[in-house]
């Protein structure tokens, strides 16, 4: 019975980008709302940036889910690094044109000019730092035509800052930065996530101290937190099956949190 609780709680923290798993926190909701407003504005580009694991992909996924019913939105979670393939995919998704053979930037511009859409389509590009600088330049030129709107996400690193400066500084109208969660936000995130999955027992075992320890280990990074808690519940599952006397089901053990952190590499033992 107990192992089932831990097992189901463990599944909640599987590292998967799913809009259904989006947890609404105060600060995050404000940022999301501002992103939604920015999309409605006649902007050429919106840059969403932040450290890895701060929820950029989740934001795009959530935006896609929310806007797809009201307007044409296309989400590309994995970058299409081949240029021809990128334009062919855009041609197919935006104008429903299946292009056979190579499709270069000029040919795509012709297609774009020939097919005027009433609503400007929104293209969401995740992991944009993986695109080459040439390809990024072409994406900028496409945005300049005001016939396609782009929302791109970038990892906030030195290299990506440079990309942002070189290609988007003068063209981006809106930049949104995503940050790690505070300890309070993290507690809400964990509990809301568990309660959303009906894991009430799992949600109740987290107290302020344990969340502070988790926050200390993960620095409020959502991806790391998910990874850590997945392992925590994995360890709990093992103990409940093999040595149940060693665990307290009422309160999460700091020892197990630290063990999970060691296992995931968040703590260097």
């Amino acid at each position: 019975m107990e192992s089932n609780i831990f097992s189901s709680s463990k599944d909640v923290f599987l590292d998967a980008v799913n809009a259904k798993d989006y947890v609404q926190l105060d600060r995050v909701s404000t940022i999301y709302q501002s992103l939604k407003n920015s999309v409605k504005k006649p902007l050429k580009m919106v840059l969403l940036y932040g450290k890895p694991g701060t929820g950029k992909s989740m934001f795009l996924s959530k935006l896609y889910q929310d806007l797809s019913s009201s307007q044409q939105v296309h989400l590309y979670q994995t970058p299409i690094l081949d240029e021809s393939e990128f334009f062919k995919t855009l041609s197919k998704d935006l104008f429903n044109i299946k292009y056979i053979g190579e499709l270069n930037f000029t040919q795509f511009l012709v297609i774009l000019n020939e097919n005027n859409l009433y609503d400007i389509p929104l293209v969401l590009l995740d992991e944009a730092q993986l695109y080459s600088s040439e390809q990024m330049e072409k994406i900028r030129l496409l945005a300049d035509t005001r016939k396609i709107k782009f929302v791109i996400t970038l990892h906030k690193t030195e290299r990506e800052d440079l990309i942002a400066k070189e290609h988007f500084q003068t063209r981006i109208w809106e930049t949104i930065e995503l940050e790690n969660a505070s300890a309070v936000e993290l507690k809400m995130y964990i509990q809301k996530k568990l309660m959303k999955a009906n894991c009430f027992d799992g949600a109740n075992i987290f107290n302020n101290k344990s969340v502070q320890l988790i926050h200390k280990i993960t620095k409020g990074n959502y991806r790391d937190t998910n990874k850590l808690l997945y392992t925590v519940f994995d360890i709990y599952t093992w103990y409940s099956e093999n040595n149940p006397s060693k665990i307290n089901t009422r309160q999460i053990s700091n020892k197990i949190i630290e063990m999970a952190a060691i296992h995931t590499g968040l703590i260097d033992a």
Partner: protein, 276 residues
């Protein structure tokens, strides 16, 4: 796949590692505190060292004064009880006490001390005179040579037999006199004053320890052969030690030398058998 046992081990090492800085900081702080404490302590000692000389001299003075005081106490037994009780409590008084008796005057102290013992000696001498006037018996014995070793065997029993006849009050006195004798012997060893050895001889004679009386009388005679009382005690002790002939011979020689009346009287008593 989770390996919990391995994880538990890793966690244990991690915990030890995480506590190491805390422990090392604690130890470092402890060492610093101890070092500071020792430093402060040493500083205090240094301060004391600079201030101590004056105090030491005072202490030394006190010690010296105490030593002097003790020596004075020994030399002046009458004053002893008064000085000790008062001067130990207040060291200033000790100093005063030291200053009072100048060093050159110590012989005068000795004279003062010896006075009562000399008086005692006189009383000792006076008693046999009265007794010997009434009886005269001659017991001639020509030659008696008594070796000192032989006396040693006979002496040990005689005092005991005499002591058994004495009352309890006398034994208490004896204890006191023994202490006095010891004290006087100590003094005698220091200054070789014949008056002191004579006093000891008389006391021993009084206590019935004739061998000791004989010895101290002999010592006194060696130092000064003109002390009448010493020859008297010497002779009396010889009689008591069953060396009557020797005693008579000694007395005769002394009479020839000094023409002492007391010696003559004693000789008569011995010869008549009145003095045994």
């Amino acid at each position: 796949m989770l390996n919990i046992y391995d994880l538990e081990k890793k966690w244990l090492t991690y915990k030890i590692k995480s506590f190491l800085p805390v422990i090392s900081i604690f130890i470092a702080l402890l060492i610093i505190i101890i070092a500071i404490y020792l430093f402060v302590d040493l500083k205090k000692l240094n301060i004391l060292d600079t201030t101590i000389p004056s105090t030491i001299t005072k202490k030394q003075e006190n010690n010296i004064s105490n030593a002097v005081q003790e020596s004075l106490k020994k030399e002046t037994p009458v004053v002893q009880s008064k000085d000790i009780s008062q001067e130990i409590v207040t060291p200033t008084r000790v100093e005063e006490a030291i200053q009072l008796p100048p060093r050159n005057e110590t012989p005068s102290h000795e004279k003062n001390i010896l006075e009562p013992s000399m008086a005692f000696m006189e009383t000792m001498q006076s008693k046999p005179l009265r007794q010997t006037t009434n009886t005269q018996k001659t017991v001639p014995k020509n030659t008696v040579q008594v070796p000192k070793k032989q006396t040693a065997t006979t002496i040990t029993q005689k005092p005991q037999t005499q002591l058994t006849h004495e009352t309890n009050s006398i034994t208490i006195k004896k204890q006191n006199t023994y202490e006095d004798i010891e004290y006087v012997i100590k003094r005698f060893k220091k200054n070789n004053n014949p008056a002191l050895s004579l006093f000891v001889a008389k006391k021993y004679y009084e206590l019935g320890e004739y061998k000791q009386a004989y010895n101290y009388a002999l010592i006194t005679n060696e130092i000064n052969n003109n002390i009448e009382a010493s020859w008297i005690i010497f002779s009396k002790s010889l009689v008591k030690l069953n060396q009557k002939a020797k005693a008579i011979q000694t007395l005769q020689q002394y009479i020839n030398h000094s023409d002492s009346n007391q010696a003559k009287l004693l000789l008569k008593e011995i010869l008549s058998g009145k003095f045994k």
